[in-house]
């Protein structure tokens, strides 16, 4: 995830992967298209979508989406509520028919070979898909039966997943008694019983407390390390940054940006450290010292671009110290989804409550 090309300057302007996809001729330069087709060779794609459209009544939910998910990668669909994330996952996982477009998942054509697609994928939706009246063990054994494993094989797989997801103790309890985090882990464990090559996770951490979230992140990283292709949706830039190799930003049913998290973050001007002064003279001195900072004389503030990491903070504070500049307070503003949206769409996130 730590890519040396952290600086925006390192990305040539005409190779900007975040240029809007619609109506961009400059992306198809001769060198770049050959690089793209080599990197995204057909055999290496776990999922591939071209021109996917979906409307519910007169409401357009997906307005011509193209996706390439490379085998073994973690792909994040980032967007606010109502942007079409869940619809995309439902279409890719055979739950919903697209109105138009060509989709291949695990090398199989979505409509004609749905059962072959189903045999290759695992899906964990936004809403709990565990049987609450069965115990954790029984839920996993049911999935083993449906994955057509042998009795002994199923039992082995269930025990292994219960251990891996820290559910061994609760294995004999009805899932109705599970906490939110446990239930989510059981949900994902059920998805993995059949050892799917491609896993779809629709907002896997929504509603979890910070600890549950980190546990889920660890699990997802473990899956990725095992070579499983993961397509997840999230509203959280940090989550996409933490987990994904590639991020696509969805806005009102269209992909507005796509690239690595580093490339995405490089487009965001939002990350900064805000320094609050009491003395206008200090502000003056600091402003002359930190030339890249944005200055606000009315509130006696300086906004210093930066990611807010400890070394960056330490360097900044040392610098202020050396020049005997007093600051009243300091706050760190990390870029969030709103900043991404502002950067790539030119308008803030409008998460209307549109039906999924």
């Amino acid at each position: 995830m730590s890519n040396p090309t952290d600086q925006p300057a390192g990305v040539p302007a005409d190779a900007d992967p975040f240029a809007p996809r619609l109506g961009t001729a400059h992306r198809r330069g001769p060198e770049h298209s050959s690089v793209t087709s080599a990197a995204l060779g057909r055999a290496a794609l776990a999922a591939e979508a071209r021109g996917v459209r979906k409307s519910f009544g007169d409401q357009v939910v997906l307005d011509g989406i193209d996706l390439d998910v490379v085998e073994g990668s973690v792909f994040a669909l980032l967007g606010p509520n109502g942007s079409g994330k869940t619809t995309t996952v439902r279409i890719l996982s055979t739950l919903l028919a697209a109105d138009a477009g060509v989709i291949r998942v695990a090398g199989h054509e979505m409509v004609r070979e749905a059962d072959l697609v189903r045999a290759a994928i695992g899906v964990t939706g936004q809403f709990s898909a565990v049987d609450k009246l069965l115990t954790g063990q029984e839920n996993l054994m049911m999935m083993a039966d449906l994955a057509h494993l042998s009795r002994a094989g199923g039992r082995r797989r269930a025990a292994e997943l219960l251990g891996r997801f820290d559910l061994s103790e609760a294995a004999g309890k009805m899932a109705a008694t599970y906490s939110g985090g446990m239930s989510r882990r059981l949900d994902l464990a059920m998805t993995l019983v059949g050892a799917p090559r491609i896993v779809f996770l629709d907002e896997p951490t929504t509603g979890l407390d910070p600890r549950g979230r980190h546990v889920m992140w660890q699990i997802i990283r473990g899956l990725a390390a095992d070579g499983v292709t993961i397509l997840l949706t999230t509203q959280d830039l940090d989550e996409a940054d933490q987990l994904a190799d590639r991020v696509a930003v969805l806005d009102h049913g269209a992909l507005v940006a796509e690239g690595s998290p580093e490339q995405l973050k490089a487009r965001i001007p939002g990350g900064h450290i805000r320094l609050q002064f009491t003395d206008p003279q200090d502000l003056e001195t600091a402003a002359r010292l930190l030339t890249s900072a944005g200055r606000d004389d009315e509130t006696l503030c300086l906004q210093v671009p930066g990611d807010g990491s400890v070394p960056a903070l330490r360097a900044l504070l040392d610098q202020l110290d050396q020049h005997a500049i007093d600051i009243e307070s300091l706050s760190i503003h990390t870029p969030d989804l709103d900043d991404v949206f502002l950067a790539v769409t030119g308008h803030p996130t409008a998460s209307e409550d549109t039906p999924r």
């Binding site: 996982s93 739950l95 898909a129 009246l133």
Partner: protein, 266 residues
């Protein structure tokens, strides 16, 4: 391709539904409670008078319990549609159905598991209700063959009504709706030959009562258990059951399969 797993996947789903009944016995208990209440009401409250009406002033309670018990048995069978609809609808409102839909399993197995589970539940409930009827004075004259034929006949009706229940459950938007829509089946037991002869009913209603399926069902059970000659009710019943079962199955699968690759129901 997945049809090769039809038996295995249906068995898995059946196991799941039988566990549900064990863990949440409210529905099976209701299936016994309601018919037994009607039995006690009609035998001990209305029975003497209604029996006299049937037997030209000489019948009494003893005649009426024999007359009404087949209707009570059919009330139990009719309530199987409600139980199935509720089970299916509560499944449909949970994420688990979407999970099953994304798996390479035999497509109808989820619903077929509900049907088989409901049939087992219904036939157990019928056995209990018949037991109570016997205690209340029901004296069937059927031999072993008659009882066997009755069991088979009731299973046929249950199969048809549970597929209808599955369809009503898949279609229902909430569990509440699913528990209400199949109620009309219970009403049909009353608006037929179950509690009084259809000939005694008012004009238009009499026409309806004579030709609706539950009259054929009730008359056949009555013939089988009290060894009357089995008329053409049995054939009429079989035709009704085939029609209801096929309609329910096609309707249910069509709604369940909404999505790409609606695998043709094998």
């Amino acid at each position: 391709m997945t049809a090769t797993y039809a038996v295995r996947d249906t068995a898995t789903m059946l196991r799941r539904n039988l566990r549900h009944m064990q863990r949440y016995p409210g529905v099976p208990l209701m299936m016994v409670f309601l018919p037994v209440m009607f039995l006690l009401l009609f035998v001990y409250v209305f029975g003497a008078t209604l029996g006299n009406g049937l037997g030209h002033g000489l019948g009494g309670r003893g005649v009426y319990v024999n007359y009404v018990s087949p209707a009570i048995i059919l009330l139990t069978v009719a309530s199987s549609a409600t139980a199935t609809a509720v089970g299916v609808a509560s499944d449909m409102t949970e994420g688990i159905i979407d999970r099953f839909r994304t798996m390479a399993i035999w497509r109808p197995s989820v619903l077929a598991g509900h049907v088989l589970g409901s049939m087992i539940q219904t036939l157990l409930a019928v056995a209990v209700v018949i037991g109570v009827a016997l205690l209340a004075g029901f004296r069937p004259t059927a031999g072993a063959a008659g009882w066997l034929a009755t069991a088979g006949f009731l299973a046929m009706i249950t199969l048809a009504l549970t597929w209808l229940g599955v369809a009503l459950g898949v279609v229902a938007k909430t569990v509440g709706t699913a528990s209400n829509t199949p109620m009309f089946l219970l009403l049909l037991v009353f608006l037929g030959s179950g509690f009084v002869p259809t000939a005694s009913m008012a004009g238009g209603l009499r026409q309806f009562a004579t030709y609706q399926p539950f009259t054929a069902f009730t008359d056949t059970v009555r013939d089988l258990l009290t060894s009357g000659p089995i008329g053409d009710h049995a054939a009429v019943s079989a035709a009704w059951c085939a029609g209801i079962a096929v309609t329910g199955y096609i309707w249910a699968m069509a709604r369940y399969n909404r999505g790409p690759a609606a695998a043709p129901a094998q």
